[in-house]
């Protein structure tokens, strides 16, 4: 990827939570770049560090979480060096976020209109009341809320779940950010509403040219909306590639198994699911070797001793697994003998 096309560059980011029980390496050295106008999907199970990673971009990491290494660059600026005041201006103007549960993110005692215009007032001191109101109404229209003037006066509890999520999206996009981080935005919604919201996000992404980091555990949603996908397991990216590469040509055992373990609506015959045996690792005591090693059916000796490096397995498609280095390992083993 050319340098001038890069919007966000994350390198070797490490985030740890310092709990009384010990250090939890929630994000353990992840790197990726995000281009302008690109939708990057981050998939993983709960506890894989996908949300923590996003929170550290937008500077919302809470105690006892701390970024302990790596860098996050946004249009060439180092986000980790920002002062809180700089961060405050950066949030909303350049990056904003949609959360999983819209009810807990909207303030129950303010009207939707109040909350929307507040965003504008915070980021632009010169904006008049009238302008802010008009912009908010326009934004509600854009996200497909009918009768926006009426909705402006309503409180969050008066709206349905899908409507609230639309209002959240309107709030996130009102300052035209360059990057939108969507943290499981459809998980709390029903499938028919989820379909509506996904269509809306695809639409808006084209219209507003926003880059999106889309965090989810639902592989179907990823296939629907993303250009590129990073698969995370226990704080590390295990595989990254274009959406077609990940779904049609998965290389990492975890991705392969994850795809095999979900029931599919589109297959002709119903076959027995192939589950991933075992349980996710305890991040307080991570294994010395590959994090997926203990659950992997192709686990080799080296997998338990050393973390695997990335191998380029296709164009823009990387996978972190020792299996890609099998030949090399065998040769070395021969040498040792």
């Amino acid at each position: 990827m050319e340098e001038n096309k890069t919007l966000l560059k994350i390198e070797d980011l490490k985030v740890s939570f310092f709990t009384p029980a010990g250090e939890v390496k929630a994000v353990d050295g992840i790197s990726y770049t995000l281009g302008y106008n690109e939708v990057m999907g981050i998939v993983g199970e709960s506890g894989s560090g996908k949300s923590v990673e996003a929170y550290s971009i937008i500077g919302l990491l809470q105690n006892p979480g701390k970024v302990i290494g790596g860098s996050i660059e946004f249009e060439g600026e180092d986000l980790l060096a920002f002062t809180p005041e700089q961060m405050r201006l950066f949030r909303g103007n350049k990056v904003s976020m949609i959360f999983q549960n819209p009810m807990t993110c909207l303030n129950p005692v303010y009207t939707i209109g109040n909350q929307l215009t507040e965003v504008l007032n915070c980021h632009d001191n010169n904006i008049s009341k009238k302008e802010a109101y008009d912009r908010a109404v326009e934004m509600l229209k854009l996200v497909g809320i009918n009768n926006p003037e009426k909705r402006m006066k309503q409180y969050p509890h008066e709206l349905s779940g899908g409507m609230r999520q639309r209002a959240m999206i309107a709030m996130a996009l009102i300052c035209s950010p360059k990057l939108l981080i969507a943290d499981e935005p459809t998980t709390a919604l029903d499938v028919t509403i989820q379909a509506q919201i996904l269509e809306l996000m695809k639409d808006l992404q084209k219209k507003e040219n926003t880059s999106i980091i889309f965090i989810t555990h639902n592989l179907g949603v990823v296939a629907e909306i993303c250009d590129r996908v990073s698969v995370m397991y226990a704080g590390r990216i295990v595989e990254q590639g274009t959406v077609n590469e990940i779904f049609y040509n998965p290389q990492h055992p975890y991705t392969k198994k994850l795809l095999a373990s979900i029931p599919r609506l589109d297959e002709e015959t119903v076959e027995r699911l192939v589950p991933i045996e075992g349980t996710p690792i305890d991040l307080l005591n991570p294994p010395q070797g590959c994090n997926f090693g203990p659950r992997c059916s192709d686990c080799m000796k080296i997998c338990l001793r050393k973390k695997p490096p990335f191998a380029e397995v296709g164009e823009g498609h990387i996978s972190a697994c020792w299996l890609h280095f099998k030949d090399m390992i065998e040769k070395e083993a021969e040498k040792d003998e």
Partner: protein
């Protein structure tokens, strides 16, 4: 569906209303389940899908009478256990041995102050299934092994387990009384993707080895299709379509089922791009004030004047394929429904 198969549970005209705050002159009800009739055959898995608030959980709980029905009739294995008209309402304790339930939230449904052994043993004590202490311990161990847990787990408390393991404890508790019929109320929705398939496989294995009958309730159509022999689709308290699972997913006849199926995102990027999506306008209406006539008419793309006035009945349009829609009644046969499917594709 063959006639010789034995009906284990038969529900006719089942209603469940919950009272909500009205005013002095007018009582208001949430009409959670509205005149549902269905049969569950011995040894099969009947799946129930629908969006949140459609009454699928209430239906499941009302069938095993965790909720007292408002109206209707429930027959279990040939014996009526509830009938509003004939005023039958049997004592449920003996039936609790036959019908059990697995709940959605594994941690919420286990008492945090009881050890796993006590949780599983409680039902053994209530139904007096073991005669000695040693037998009781053996039985608990055996149950834990059946659901893939270690026998020493009996002395631990629920919080020491992961979500998947807690759900296994919930399943062991349901199995303790050797039931014939289990209501699985969203048993896997709270679990991680990689754990879901483990639990689904286990439920399938248990069904095969013990000849269990399941009522499997979930909002995830792909999972329901995977595990069920037949699927019922619910919308706002009503059963709108019922058919064998492959038939239902390949030839849905009710407009709601069609949109529901097309809304499910497929883990296949190319297929997602090529297929046409039916999008519904608006949200589910409130069950306190449901629309008159067909409850789906406010969002249905094919709504006719008649749909506003009359509630359609569930009728058989192809062998074993039931649907409740005036459109089908008008067109009469299954073929027409596929033709209006094609029409949508062109659009």
């Amino acid at each position: 569906m063959s006639e010789e198969r034995k009906k284990l549970v038969e529900v006719t005209g089942l209603k469940k209303y919950f009272p909500v705050k009205g005013n002095l002159f007018e009582k208001k009800y949430v009409q959670a389940v509205e005149s549902v009739s269905l049969s569950i055959y011995k040894g099969e898995t009947l799946g129930l899908v629908g969006e949140s608030g459609c009454g699928k959980t209430t239906l499941g709980r009302t069938i095993i009478r965790l909720y007292e029905p408002t109206d209707g009739r429930i027959v279990y294995d040939g014996t009526p256990i509830y009938d509003k008209k004939e005023k039958i309402s049997v004592r449920m304790l003996p039936y609790r041995r036959k019908m059990q339930i697995i709940f959605q939230d594994p941690s919420g449904s286990l008492d945090p102050r009881m050890t796993v052994g006590e949780i599983i043993g409680e039902s053994l004590d209530i139904h007096k299934l073991t005669s000695s202490k040693a037998e009781r311990t053996d039985r608990i161990r055996q149950l834990l092994e059946e659901v893939g847990l270690n026998t020493e787990h009996a002395n631990r408390f629920p919080h020491e387990f992961s979500g998947g393991q807690q759900q296994r404890v919930g399943i062991a508790r349901a199995l303790a009384v050797e039931p014939e019929f289990i209501v699985c109320d969203e048993p896997i929705s709270a679990l991680d993707v990689s754990i879901q398939s483990q639990v689904v496989n286990m439920l399938e294995d248990l069904q095969a080895s013990k000849g269990l009958t399941y009522l499997f309730i979930a909002h995830d159509v792909s999972v329901v299709r995977h595990i069920s022999d037949r699927i019922g689709v619910m919308y706002l308290g009503c059963l709108v379509e019922l058919a064998e699972s492959y038939e239902l997913c390949s030839h849905p006849i009710h407009p709601y089922t069609q949109t529901l199926l097309s809304a499910v995102p497929l883990p296949d990027p190319e297929k997602n791009k090529t297929r046409t999506r039916l999008l519904l306008e608006g949200d589910i209406p409130s069950p306190i004030n449901p629309p008159t006539g067909c409850r789906f008419h406010t969002r249905c793309p094919y709504a006719m004047p008649r749909c506003k006035e009359e509630m359609p009945e569930l009728k058989e349009y192809a062998p074993g394929h039931f649907g409740a829609c005036h459109l089908l009644e008008q067109n009469g046969s299954h073929n027409t429904s596929t033709s209006h499917n094609n029409k949508e594709d062109k659009e």
